[in-house]
């Protein structure tokens, strides 16, 4: 496991923010009481209310925030939940490839993802949507059905296309966020600071892949189902009223593990690796298979590739 280090601030954001902590603190304290009353959030602590954007926190502040979160999770779930802060690995940009000719639409990936990433169980938030498409229509989303329920998959005349966050090189969701609560990390993973997101859902309107999901209600995560191995920018338990999304299992992949969906896939349709590593499987696929990107015409430049393996 990589040593815990604070996430490096993205270029030019920490310095570009005017004002120091003192003014913020003053103004923040002034409105904290008002906000707490107004919003009926009795549990809202001053520290939580005043916490600034994750990328602007100092090393010490990050340590405090993580300690506070771990304490809160322990109170809430009655068990130790570790919140890691593993930084991007140098020389790594993650890429994902999905073999459409192998995927059978079993949706094991969907459920492995829910378990691994501490999604709300009721209503269940799913980061992966598996579309059942008609072979005659090809990749035509207007003919897609994600609620298919046959006795057996794959169904005659159909093929399956799982869709999740495409970790775009030019993510529209990041561009539109009014408060910079979401950004692209150096390893190509687009993340959300759940403690900074205001829940305006502009990113959801901007995402062409339906990859962002909102906690419409209080996330329902039974304590015995909590995955205690979490990352601040990934699968730590979320509050209500914020947006969340696939992070390529940041808590696993930054430790050199595969994402949960890759690991569970029974057909080996899912491939994952470092795009900068010339010897990686993902690079082999990109160089040797028939590859396409979903909604390529929108110029979001996904690091998620669909391919036909056979």
């Amino acid at each position: 496991m990589t040593a815990r280090e604070p996430i490096q601030p993205a270029e030019g954001c920490a310095s570009s923010t005017p004002g120091g902590g003192s003014r913020r603190e003053f103004l923040g304290t002034a409105v904290a009481a008002v906000a707490t009353t107004l919003t009926g959030c009795g549990k809202l602590s001053h520290e939580e209310f005043l916490q600034h954007n994750f990328r602007e926190l100092s090393k010490d502040e990050v340590r405090d925030v993580i300690a506070r979160l771990e304490r809160e999770y322990k109170e809430k779930y009655g068990r130790e939940v570790k919140v890691a802060n593993t930084a991007p690995l140098p020389g790594v940009i993650f890429g994902y490839a999905l073999d459409l000719s192998r995927c059978i639409g079993c949706r094991r990936c969907v459920h492995a993802c829910v378990k691994e990433n501490n999604q709300s169980r009721s209503p269940e938030v799913q980061w992966i949507r598996v579309l059942e498409l008609e072979k005659e229509e090809g990749v035509n989303l207007q003919h897609a059905d994600q609620y298919y329920d046959p006795a057996e998959v794959p169904r005659e005349g159909h093929f399956y296309m799982p869709v999740q966050c495409q970790q775009c090189k030019k993510p529209p969701c990041v561009k539109v966020c009014p408060v910079g609560a979401t950004w692209r990390e150096k390893d190509g993973i687009t993340v959300v600071d759940y403690n900074w997101c205001i829940g305006c859902r502009y990113c959801m309107a901007a995402c062409p892949y339906g990859a962002r999901h909102f906690n419409w209600g209080e996330p329902n995560l039974p304590p015995d189902q909590v995955n205690p191995d979490t990352h601040y920018l990934g699968n730590r338990p979320r509050p209500k009223g914020v947006v969340e999304k696939c992070t390529f299992c940041i808590q696993r992949t930054r430790k050199g593990l595969y994402p949960a969906c890759v690991e569970i896939c029974p057909t080996g349709s899912r491939k994952f690796g470092n795009l900068l590593d010339k010897t990686s499987e993902i690079r082999y696929i990109l160089e040797n298979k028939r590859v396409f990107k979903l909604k390529e015409e929108l110029n979001t430049q996904p690091n998620f590739f669909y391919f036909y393996g056979v």
């Binding site: 959030c41 207007q142 539109v176 966020c177 205001i198 829940g199 009223g241 914020v242």
Partner: protein
């Protein structure tokens, strides 16, 4: 000066607390709606936005639809400013201030609708420039926050200043007011343009990703905003001593005929492009106008909006009709209905349906959404009423620094 201003504030406050039975009944009704809305909103804050019928597929709904409509109303205040100040056309000049007060109320409602739509209202400070972390200039929402608040500030300042001058029996400094009023023209255009760009810039939503969205926004706003004012001016004429000339009202109606014609033309241009070329982007128009895969929720609304718009256009186009009070008022109601449906149901929902993965989720506002919206509209009407209550006697010169106290102490006070 400062003491006078303090006096102005306290007198204004005293003025708005006094009125006849009808005034109290109206205020009471608004307060009741606000109470209902507040109750619904507290429920929403406690349970989360799950009490709305918005979901991941249709992530914006009734709240943002109302927001969009009201930005148009706010922008439309300049329909009065342009003829009054640019062409120096006297009959409208005195009612410009009414348009500005309408803009203030509309903007307060806009900010209210944004506030109730966000999932974490306790974090609203994140979006305040310098205090939070505004993603400017990248995010159109950040632009919107800035221009809406600046426009609110500008209108609030001009209205307060003009009233304070009237109150202190002095003539306002033209060199100060004129540039500000002229500035409010591009500002009004900018608030609605930026709001249009908010949707326009999203390549993921082909229904919004059209170059004429911003012009369409402006055209529809410039007919719906004045529609409210035309009715309001008639009410004020009847209930107060404010003299508003017929020709001022007919001039506004004439301007509305042009903007409505333009609005209908732009809508037709958009519909033609989508339906005739028949690309896959057509599905959103199809969902709106004809229904898709058996889902026809929006169809009656869409056609009602189109028919109301066409009927209103004819009423406003023919001089004989628009100078007939009954037909004029009917036209106002029709245009208001047409644009309200178009901006609420006809813009946001088909923009998000089918969703990015082709799913059709049928959205209708829930009780909470309707109640909260009613509360916000009531707040807007309350603000507008209170402003009018104080402004009318000041504009008439009945209520000034020297004459104000006497009137307030008199038993039958307050004009409304």
């Amino acid at each position: 000066m400062l003491r006078n201003f303090w006096q102005f504030i306290t007198d204004t406050l005293r003025l708005i607390t006094r009125g006849n039975r009808y005034y109290y009944a109206w205020i009471g009704f608004l307060l009741l709606l606000i109470a209902i809305g507040t109750g619904a909103y507290i429920g929403q804050v406690n349970d989360g936005l799950i009490v709305t019928r918005m979901r991941d597929q249709v992530s914006w709904g009734f709240y943002i639809g109302n927001f969009t409509f009201l930005v148009g109303v706010a922008a439309a205040a300049i329909m009065l400013v342009i003829p009054a100040y640019v062409y120096d056309w006297e009959p409208i000049k005195e009612i410009t201030i009414l348009g500005e007060m309408l803009a203030i109320s509309a903007l307060i409602m806009c900010l209210g609708f944004v506030m109730v739509d966000i999932g974490r209202p306790d974090r609203f400070w994140h979006i305040i420039p310098l205090v939070g972390r505004l993603n400017w200039p990248q995010s159109m929402l950040a632009w919107d926050v800035i221009v809406l608040n600046l426009y609110l500030l500008l209108n609030w300042f001009v209205v307060t200043y003009l009233l304070f001058c009237a109150y202190t029996d002095r003539h306002y400094v033209k060199k100060l007011v004129l540039p500000l009023v002229l500035l409010s023209i591009p500002m009004a255009v900018s608030i609605h343009t930026v709001t249009a760009y908010l949707y326009n810039g999203l390549a993921a939503r082909p229904f919004w990703n059209s170059a004429i969205l911003a012009p369409r926004f402006l055209a529809s706003a410039f007919c719906s905003g004045p529609a409210i004012l035309l009715i309001l001016l008639q009410v004020l004429r009847k209930t107060t001593k404010l003299s508003i000339k017929d020709e001022a009202i007919f001039k506004i109606a004439e301007l509305m005929a042009y903007t409505m014609g333009f609005n209908l033309f732009l809508t037709a241009a958009e519909a033609f492009k989508e339906l005739y070329s028949g690309t896959e982007h057509m599905v959103y128009f199809q969902y709106l106008l004809f229904g898709l895969k058996g889902h026809t929720t929006l169809v009656p609304f869409a056609w009602a909006s189109i028919l109301c718009g066409l009927a209103a256009f004819i009423l406003f186009l023919v001089p004989r009709f628009r100078t007939n009070w009954t037909l004029l008022n009917l036209g106002c109601v029709l245009i208001y209905a047409s644009v309200y449906i178009e901006k609420g149901m006809g813009l946001i929902i088909p923009g998000l349906t089918p969703d990015a993965l082709g799913e059709i989720y049928v959205y209708r506002p829930s009780y909470t959404e309707v109640a909260v919206a009613a509360g916000i509209f009531a707040i807007g009407f309350l603000v507008f009423t209170l402003m009018l209550k104080a402004a009318v006697p000041m504009m008439l010169g009945e209520f000034t620094l020297t004459r104000g106290r006497k009137r307030l102490d008199a038993p039958e006070a307050g004009p409304v």
